[in-house]
Chain length 340, copies 2
């Protein structure tokens, strides 16, 4: 079965860090792809239809690739437990996307209509529930209670982070550490769990699994902060992500925190009003983008992301040298470079 062509590169020499990582684990990723199709099968056709709509389209498979690469970097072969775990991680991610789309009232996801616009909110909620449950049946197949422990706890942390983010909507004055706690929960927890649990399919718990968990956690933080910056256009607009989605939803992100902090009392008043969707006006996005620009808030956010990526690589340096560890290090850089 074909993996999405922009990553596998098929016959081409791997060029990007994503392609190079993929080339090291391509057969295993094919096994994971088969699991993603097989385990979303159901006589209730909405389930495979929605699953394939959201899973097969546009996803970079970053989380399952990290799961497998962590298994390999921890030593030895990747086996069936790692395949099941990687598919489970992708299903958890997919379930959160389906639920996020309903919560965020977003219309588009990766440039396509959000699944809920095609099948409705109810189907998005329930198919999300199905995929989340299916993730746990896949984890049972790893036969590792410790893996179930890690992933079930991470799932709690993710949901808790999403609720915390919901409560923080419109609160432009949220302290930085509270915002970073949201990032840690809603995004970094799954990367951390994927890398840590991935390593445990191949090695007992210890320094290596801790290093890989730390790598995942730092990578996840960098990944989210870059996403935050891209919502305000990043440093170019080549990626075509629609700018201002977070702003229109009143979502607090790192560029907003920096712009508000650096912009003085007038800017603070602006952000406090404009990030509240009930008092936001149509012209506010242009003002926001200009405020972000003059305060250098995107650059500052990317600097923070870069520091997280560096710490991700530092964690990898605690592992034995391997192609997979090198490829994971390049992924950390790539996650930040995509904003330039």
């Amino acid at each position: 079965m074909a993996f999405n062509a922009d990553i596998s590169g098929n016959n081409a020499v791997p060029e990007t860090p994503m392609e190079r990582l993929y080339s090291l684990i391509s057969e295993d990723m094919e096994a994971v792809e088969r699991l993603l199709v097989e385990r979303a099968a159901s006589p209730v056709s909405t389930i495979p239809d929605m699953s394939s709509y959201i899973i097969s389209a546009g996803g970079k498979r970053l989380r399952p690739m990290i799961t497998l690469a962590a298994a390999k970097a921890a030593g030895g072969r990747i086996g069936q437990p790692a395949h099941c775990l990687a598919a489970a991680v992708e299903f958890i991610h997919t379930a959160t996307l389906l639920h996020d789309d309903v919560v965020d009232e977003s219309e588009l996801r990766r440039g396509k209509l959000a699944a809920k616009k095609v099948w409705g909110n109810s189907a998005s909620i329930l198919v999300g529930d199905f995929l989340f449950a299916r993730a746990f049946t896949l984890m049972v197949e790893t036969h590792s209670m410790r893996i179930l422990d890690i992933l079930s706890n991470a799932s709690c942390v993710i949901a808790e982070g999403e609720v915390r983010q919901l409560a923080a909507l419109g609160q432009a004055g949220l302290p930085l550490d509270e915002y970073m706690a949201i990032v840690e929960a809603k995004t970094a927890a799954l990367f951390e769990a994927a890398a840590r649990a991935g390593s445990l399919t191949n090695t007992p718990e210890g320094d290596e699994s801790a290093a890989l968990g730390e790598y995942g956690r730092r990578l996840g933080r960098a990944f989210q902060l870059v996403d935050d910056a891209l919502d305000y256009g990043g440093l170019t607009d080549k990626l075509g992500k629609s700018v201002g989605d977070d702003f229109r939803e009143g979502k607090l992100t790192l560029p907003v925190l920096y712009a508000r902090e650096r912009g003085g009392p007038e800017a603070q008043k602006f952000w406090d009003r404009a990030l509240n969707v009930s008092t936001q006006t149509e012209d506010d996005l242009d003002i926001a983008i200009e405020q972000i620009r003059v305060t250098g808030a995107v650059e500052a956010s990317l600097d923070t992301a870069r520091r997280e990526a560096e710490m991700a690589k530092d964690a990898l340096a605690r592992l034995p040298k391997s192609d997979c560890a090198d490829a994971l290090a390049d992924i950390a850089d790539f996650c930040v470079d995509r904003a330039y």
Copy 2:
């Protein structure tokens, strides 16, 4: 900590089958209640607030009581694994209630405002996700991979049943066996898993766990069919459940299937139009209730429920005699009797 008074009965002599069952496992149920509070704790206050709103109010704790009683009926003491499992089962049930409320667009739940009317749809979705994830962390504490296997598969079946029900909305002509498959999935699967997995905390898999699983499955079917009948007023209206919720949502239930089948071509036309919410008119509920009455559809539904309850008791007869097995048998009768 006080259990809701209508079941525990405190100092009173147990009178109803629910009270008698409770009296056999009261200390263990108190341990479960403590877990339900402890494990819904979170610094994000929406989570414990919503959880306690929905968990502490009005729920009969039928599923955790069956979990514990199954453990005891399978022999010996109830221990910490059974407590964790019982709390997990209640969390799964609570998560499905939170998501169902959003899906069904219902305003009330057990006579109170639905949680989503207080906290909003987004919080209902995300807190449901949290409780579902928390259920799995509790199951990890049973240290039984087989229990995780049973409950994760049941969770898939439940979600699949909910999606199937969604696809069947407005389809008055759904074949009976397809409707029973929905009942089996959305309701009976969790009762079955609770009873089967409950027994496995005390005994290896075998005839007893199979009998208890069969009991749960039949009880769950009876329970749902009685609920279906109560939505059209049951045989009295003493229970105060608001009549016609299912009808207004275009939800196919057993009384509708029977009334449509028995009412002749005119009735068939009526149900096909009226169960479609886009062509339903204000007077239709009165006509529907009259159609249900003249065709004896509630009585027929309750007869079907009664047969399921009898089969539930037959399954229990395969167990060694015990107070808990007797109490479970009485619960099967009680589930049907509540409609009279």
